[in-house]
Structure formats: structure tokens, C-alpha cells
Subunit: 313 residues, 2 copies
Amino acid sequence: MTITQLSYVLAVAEHQNFTKAAQKCFVTQPTLSMQIQKLEDQLDILIFDRSKKPIELTEVGKKIVTQARNIVNESYRIQDIVDQEKGFIGGEFKLGIIPTIMPTLLPMFLNNFVKKYPKVKLKIEELTTEEIIARINDGHLDAAIAATPLENETIKERVLYFEPFVAYVPNNHRLRDNKKLNITDLDIDDMLLLEDGHCFREGVINLCKAFKNHTDDKFQLESGSIETLIKLSNEGLGMTLLPYLHTLDINEKSKANLHYFTEPSPAREVSLIYHKSELKMQIIEALQDVISGVIRGAIAFQNVQIVSPISKK
Amino acid sequence: MTITQLSYVLAVAEHQNFTKAAQKCFVTQPTLSMQIQKLEDQLDILIFDRSKKPIELTEVGKKIVTQARNIVNESYRIQDIVDQEKGFIGGEFKLGIIPTIMPTLLPMFLNNFVKKYPKVKLKIEELTTEEIIARINDGHLDAAIAATPLENETIKERVLYFEPFVAYVPNNHRLRDNKKLNITDLDIDDMLLLEDGHCFREGVINLCKAFKNHTDDKFQLESGSIETLIKLSNEGLGMTLLPYLHTLDINEKSKANLHYFTEPSPAREVSLIYHKSELKMQIIEALQDVISGVIRGAIAFQNVQIVSPISKK
DNA sequence: AACATCTATCAATAAAACTTATTGAATATC
DNA sequence: GATATTCAATAAGTTTTATTGATAGATGTT
């Protein structure tokens, strides 16, 4: 049994196709067929059920794949140990970011980071929290930035900052004249929300539900981006909540519509999250350093209360 | 990097000698030299400091060895998964047993076990608890039978039975006329003990100390075996405590000297212990089954209090 | 029936792992 | 101080293994 064979098994298990898996492994299809057969012969058991189309794992195969993923990941860790020893910070690093954090945070730290760590090849993807968790667990992401706490056993979190919620209240709104808003003023019924799948939406719902226990779970208007949310609000369709960093680059006219909360302001906790195996920990720590550095200048709020990003049913 | 290379590194790290390690790996010494060099070249780091005699691990080397042991063990686990699937219970299995359990328990289950699981090649070694813990952790033992709880994070325990302590009181002793003994009757000063290194000795000391806090830690007479302990006691040199199973095969005359404790009788907890990685779990469970089976008929005590086998300073 | 898709098999080749024999350095012995 | 002894590294040659391109066979599609 070799680590190479195990990684071939992982590739076929993932793509459910020898030919595609072979491409991903940068070998030809016969190589995969033969090496996997050899492993199956040695273990004297079938890992794949080749009668099914597309190809499927056998019951033992599933267990073997789980264990193989373990072994292959642990083997990467050896290079990691060496890198750490040498103080080398580089190589490919895949970072996921949720949509409501991406446009505001990324421009703030990306330049700093690539200048400070030029050997790291950052590959950034915008993904929902759900997708991020799946891809951290299957090893397709090295780390991600998301709202926390996630209460997920396989994933570790390092808090980067707390980002307060800011209300955006249009001209005609009933709360127009409240200079400082209280959480209890909120009503889910006149709140514009992001569409399903965004954890910021869940945060807002949790916040509103905390004070009014609403039975009606049907929301009037939903949007895919915070930009659109502001425009809809300007049209008089309701108020909305924005993450603080988004309020920094809206136009001057709209800024007049921002209403801050009385302290402790509701806020989301934004963290760098990664698999508990702590692979590529040096790069994760480098990211944390850079992001914490740029954020210190941008968010000054002291007194906040954290709103959970997880939908509670 | 291959699993083979990693196991070569482990062998050299263990034997601190390429030639001996090569023999253990069933290859020639140049093979080890070359493969390890190749790994060092690929990682671009030295794992061994060859200037030292005998050869030593570098600092990174130590970390790599820890990780390598992980990977190699996890790779064994794949064969384990397959065995489990096939219901195959066999292969070499190394079991450690502490000296005060070995002579009484082993004859009770060994025959049953080898008949029921003829494909398992049991290799049994008599070792102290301390040695057992070290050898379970370094993979030289698959499991062991010892007094518990050990309070060791890397080792898991499955309780097999509780073995009461029975007092052996010679003719001339002050406790001679107490039919049933109480723990508070015990005095460490007239107690014959096993020599240092036996956990049964620690158990007895813990038991005595629990009721008399003695400052004097010098014991009068010590012995290497329970047989000798009984003989010394017969010579009038003091009383002693025996594990219950040992009382089953002492001669008739001596049996008159046995005094049981009032319930709850002090007892040691005897467990099957193994590494938390749970390698060869099928065989461990098979052992547990067989031993529990034979013990059920031998020990009927209900009400016991467990004495810790660990020296508390 | 012809075509497309996908895996297994075969023979050839490139790469690697391993072996025996030998060297060289360090240490111990006379 | 010369001579063994020990032990890892190196060299050269052999065997084994991994990989490839070409192709056959199986299965499903138009």
C-alpha cells in the first residue's frame, strides 16, 4: 500500500470516474485502474462497485476512503512540519469567504497580504457557509472567513473581529426619527432580507426573533446582494440591516439613512475557520495577523452582543 | 514520500542504528540509507544527525517521527478495516500482562481463546504497568491486562472484572481472631509488600494510607512474588494481602489463614487496555469476550470498592 | 446498428527500489 | 602508532514497479 495508491482511490471516489480522476492525478487512466486493482488485490476486497454507473464505493470502500483521506492528509502534514521549521510561508492556499464579507474585507487586506507573503498563492472563492464547511472537511479549502460561532466539531475558529449591525432606515419609515435604535424596535415584517443561504440573513432573523416571537415565517422581499437591499429600501419597501463595513462605502446621501444601535450593539462575530487537523497553520496565522492588523484601524466598537449566524428551528 | 520510507525512518529512530534497523525492515542497510536520504532530499531537511554516535534525531526529525508513526499506524488500520469487514480474526497479537495477574488469569482463558480463535498468534509478555504503557504507546504491544484506572490519555480501558483483596494472616498475628477484617484494621508497618515496580504493591499502600496517614515510607520486608510473600508470612514476619484469584490455588493448610474483608471489600479493577487509536479492535473484543466469560464463573463478589493502582505522592 | 463513453488489458518503457560489493570515516584494540 | 572493527555512504548492476499508448470489451445512447 502506498500513499499514491490511496490518493488515487480518493480521486476516483470523488469524481466517480476513472478517466476524470486520472486527469486530476496527472496520470493516465490505465495507471489508476492498475494501481487501484493492485490495492484491491492486496487487501483482497473490492473498493469500488464497477457494475454501477457511475461507479460507486462498496461499503468497505467507504470506510477505506475515510481512512485513506486521513492518511493522505496526515502525510501532507510532514511537509507542513518542515515548512514550519524553516519559517517558510508559501505554496497554494485556498480561502473561502462568505458573500457578505467578501466585497468589504477582501480589498482591505489582500494587497497587504500578498506584499508581506509573496510566496503564498492565494486562491479565493466566494461560498456560502454551508459550502465552506463541506469544502473544509473534504480538504478543498484550507481555510475560510465566515460568521461564527458555527458549533461544528471538525472546524476550529479564530475570531478576527466583531462587526456591528447598522440599520438602514428610509425616509418614510416609522423608525425614521429614532436617532439611536434599540433591538426591540425591530420588526421582522418590515425588514428587507437577503435571500436564503446567506448567513447574514439568519443573523438578522435570529436578532428579530429574539424579541418578537413570530409565527409567520414568510418574508416579503428578499435580495441577493446588500447593494440591492439598499436600493429596495430607498424605494420605500422597508428598512434593512447592514454589516458595519458595508456602511463605509455607501454614497453620502444614503449615509444619512444609517441608524446605529444603542450599545451593546448587535454584531456578528467574523472568524478565520479551518479544519481541526490544523494543516498549513503558518499561513492561517499569517492571514490572521494581517487581517487583525487592518481591522484594528477600521472597527472601533467596544460593546457588542453577538448574534448567532445559524438558523435555529 | 512513501509509507515505506516513513517506516524506515521509524526503524532507524528506534534502533539508533541503520544496520539493525535494516534487519528489522528485512532489507539491506544501503536500502535504508538511500531511501532515508531520498526523503531528506525531497523535504530538503535532515531527519538524523549522523555526526552523533549513536545516531540521533534532529529537532525536526523528532516531529517528523511523531507524525510518521501516526501515518504508519493509520495505514495498518486499513487492513484492520478489511479484516473487520470479512469477520476475520487473526494475525499476530502482542498482549502484555502484569506479574500479579499473569499466573492466575492466563491459564484460565488462554486455552479457550486459542481454541476459539485459532488464527490469532498470541504473543504474551509479562511486563510492569509502566513498561506496558510505554510499549502500547510505541506500538510494540497491541493490548495489555493491568490494574486500572490508569488516568492515561492515550490509553483506553475496558474493565474485565473486580478482584477483591484477601488478607493472609499468619498464626501469631494480632488480627488472628478477627473473622472478617475491616480496612481500618490494616497497618502498613506489619504488612509484607511486593518489591517496587508492582502496581499491586501501590494498591496495598494506597489502601493502608487511606486510613492511617503514615510518614514513615520504609517498609520492612519486600518480595518479588506472591508465593514468596505467603512463605514469609508463614515464617511469622507479618501479614500480607493477596489478589482473590491467587487464593484459589494455595494449599489447604494456608487457606485457613485467609481472612476476607467486610463488604464493600477493597478490590482492584482489572482491565484490558489498548491504545486510543483502537487498532486490531476485533481481537481486543474477542479477548474481552473470552476473559469475561471465564471470569463470570470465578468471581462472585458484588460489593467492592476500587483501590487505585497508581502511586500517589 | 452505429456511436459514444468508460474501464480493463497488453506490451513496452521509464523509473524506482533493492542488492552486492566497496569505500571511507570514526572508534576501539593491541 | 599501526591495526582491526564498526557503521554509514557510495557505486554499479539487477529486479521490481509504475506508467504509458494502443486497443479491446462492455454498457448505454441516438
